[in-house]
């Protein structure tokens, strides 16, 4: 992407070097917490608050964290939860978005307005009532229960609707002429064309639910259902007398998968988030 001013003839604008410095400095500040977590996690506790370049490295903290809390189990829960939610969201949002984008039915616009409401009033805002509902459905302390309220995502519906609307009308017409019905058209034309949006939405959704805390905290009661964030929250409850080395180790353990994925796919990640941003 050609940024402004590139390729222009003539000398560079003044103060540019200064700006670049500022940008870099900010970047460094921004990664500091992560850097510290790494430092604390890989050094013995007595160095957690003392920054001695010669400090010995160790994995003991990870071992302890791993012993103290069932991170493995937590991670499994989270992965399962996130995939469950995503899968459901993709299906439900696709169908709903398709309805909004390509069909005319009475009350469509009203319905769409009601859907959009959920972009603002997210389930955790209603955690009291939703908790009651869940207990009625006997879904408290189940991963399904944690996921259910999020499975129809207004954001996803909105995003996909936009994308579907951008699919050239001609393609839909062509598919019809060739004898494809609505569902066939959806699967053969719309879904493939919306792939970037799906990726974008997928990433947003995964990182949202990987990091979600309050609602799972309320709904889950046991190790078998706790996602990593709740596990971490319980594990790192300051009451126990904070030991940053172990906490950092635990923190790294819990964010490692996401951060690794992020580092690997950062380009797509950022691009996709940007696509998600285009509304």
């Amino acid at each position: 992407m050609k940024g402004r001013g590139e390729g222009l003839a003539g000398p560079p604008p003044p103060g540019q070097a200064l700006e670049h410095a500022a940008a870099l400095l900010l970047a460094v500040l921004w990664v500091l917490p992560l850097v510290y977590a790494v430092w604390a996690a890989f050094h013995p506790p007595e160095y957690a608050t003392r920054f001695d370049p010669l400090a010995p490295l160790t994995l003991a903290n990870f071992r302890r964290a791993w012993e103290v809390a069932p991170f493995a189990r937590y991670l499994v829960n989270t992965v399962f939860l996130v995939s469950l939610i995503l899968a459901a969201q993709l299906v439900l949002c696709t169908l709903a978005a398709y309805a909004f984008a390509r069909f005319e039915f009475p009350g469509r616009d009203a319905a769409f307005g009601l859907v959009l409401l959920q972009i603002l009033i997210v389930p955790e805002v209603l955690l009291v009532e939703n908790y009651v509902t869940l207990s009625r459905l006997d879904l408290v302390d189940t991963l399904l229960g944690v996921g259910l309220p999020y499975m129809a995502s207004a954001f996803g519906i909105f995003l996909l609707r936009q994308t579907f609307k951008q699919v050239p009308r001609d393609l839909d017409d062509a598919a019809q002429i060739e004898g494809a019905g609505p569902l066939r058209a959806l699967l053969a034309v719309y879904v493939p064309l919306a792939r970037p949006t799906y990726l974008a939405y997928g990433l947003v959704s995964v990182s949202y639910h990987w990091n979600n805390f309050l609602w799972p905290l309320v709904v889950t009661n046991s190790v078998e259902t706790r996602p990593i964030t709740v596990g971490l929250g319980v594990f790192a409850a300051p009451e126990t007398g904070v030991n940053w080395s172990v906490v950092s180790a635990g923190t790294l353990l819990s964010v490692a998968p996401l951060v690794l994925a992020f580092l690997l796919f950062q380009r797509q990640f950022v691009q996709s988030f940007m696509r998600a941003g285009i509304k």
């Binding site: 002429i177 004898g179 493939p192």
Partner: protein, 363 residues
């Protein structure tokens, strides 16, 4: 092979009368062009035939079946879109056989047909490319391929060439026409480019504001435009249409005294002259050169005649300079006459004895 008959079809979008009581027939195997300026209802008419829009009123026959209430998939038609509407995520092969797959045509049959079509359109080498990797012309061919592989008796095309550059458009025009003749597919072709219409059509249906303005073969359309609208729409540059006034001895172009018609039929009439029918003469209608446009093979000269302006087309690089005084002439049969109010052609008047006799002619 099947004829198409559109009878009294109308399509209203709210208050917009996109198509308004349109009727015409497309003989089996013939190539009919829907011509008209942007927004005149060409695409809508085509989409009505395709069934992509439902008629507000009127009926549509394909062959001897009334298809008015059938969905597109049941009308046994193929369609080519201005945008080609190729599926960007499918390669050429998949695009072409898409319809066959949907219609569950057995694989071997598919393969056979594909081979034939690819051969016919010279796509054999491109089967595994995605549309994005094809030039405009190639995409065009793929769209055609998808249309003809269905082997439907009818094919509808909406400005299929308008996204190609001048050169390519010309070659594709010829290819397309040849193909249509070869397969004998009944074709309805939408364009707003009169050159395309003249050069390709068996018949041209000129639309204006959703109504049929003229329905005739190209030569007639050019030689005897039914209205000022058609006259002004066809030809490069299009026909000159001059307002007349009565003068002693006949009718003259507004602001001149030299009669161009032998009998006073001036007021209320418009005179039509094709630029290529007008010549520079020693004696004749006096005019002043405004400017001239050199086009290589010929030059278009823009003249002021009385209150009117008139274009003439001269071969090669014309020896005229802006401001020069010239005299213009033409042969009697170059004259066209239109009713100023209705805009309709008035050959009846022209036929009257003595009308054509006038000064400004050359022999």
């Amino acid at each position: 092979m099947a004829s198409i008959q559109v009878s009294r079809a109308s399509k209203h979008f709210g208050s917009v009368r996109a198509v308004d009581d349109v009727s015409f027939t497309v003989p089996a195997g013939s190539f009919v062009v829907l011509l008209g300026p942007s927004g005149c209802g060409k695409s809508t008419t085509l989409r009505l035939i395709a069934g992509l829009e439902t008629v507000t009123s009127g009926r549509i026959w394909i062959g001897d079946i009334d298809v008015t209430d059938l969905p597109p998939s049941r009308r046994r038609i193929a369609m080519v879109f201005q945008s080609y509407a190729l599926f960007p995520h499918l390669n050429v092969r998949e695009n072409i056989v898409f319809g066959l797959k949907v219609r569950r045509v057995p694989a071997p049959d598919r393969a056979a047909r594909l081979a034939r079509v690819a051969e016919l359109l010279g796509l054999a080498g491109l089967l595994h490319r995605k549309p994005g990797q094809l030039s405009g012309g190639q995409q065009q061919r793929v769209a055609l391929g998808r249309a003809i592989i269905a082997e439907t008796p009818v094919c509808l095309m909406d400005e299929p060439l308008s996204n190609l550059d001048a050169q390519l458009r010309q070659t594709m025009r010829r290819e397309l026409r040849a193909l249509q003749r070869h397969l004998g597919i009944t074709t309805v072709y939408v364009t707003h480019d009169q050159v395309e219409a003249l050069s390709m059509a068996d018949r041209v249906v000129v639309l204006r504001d959703g109504r049929v303005e003229q329905d005739a073969p190209p030569a007639e359309l050019y030689a005897r435009p039914a209205s000022v609208f058609v006259a002004r729409f066809i030809g490069t540059p299009p026909m000159n249409v001059l307002r007349l006034a009565d003068v002693p001895g006949g009718a003259a172009v507004r602001g001149t005294a030299v009669p161009v018609l032998g009998r006073p039929a001036g007021e209320g009439f418009l005179l039509g002259l094709r630029p290529e029918d007008v010549r520079l003469t020693s004696a004749g209608l006096p005019a002043r050169v405004l400017d001239s446009e050199y086009l290589g093979a010929d030059t278009v000269v823009n003249c002021a005649v009385g209150e009117e302006t008139l274009k003439l087309r001269l071969p090669g690089r014309a020896p005229v300079t802006a401001g020069a005084e010239v005299r213009l002439g033409w042969t009697p049969d170059a004259l066209h006459l239109f009713d100023a109010t209705s805009g309709r052609r008035r050959d009846d008047v022209l036929q009257e004895p003595g009308v054509r006799q006038a000064k400004g002619e050359i022999t």
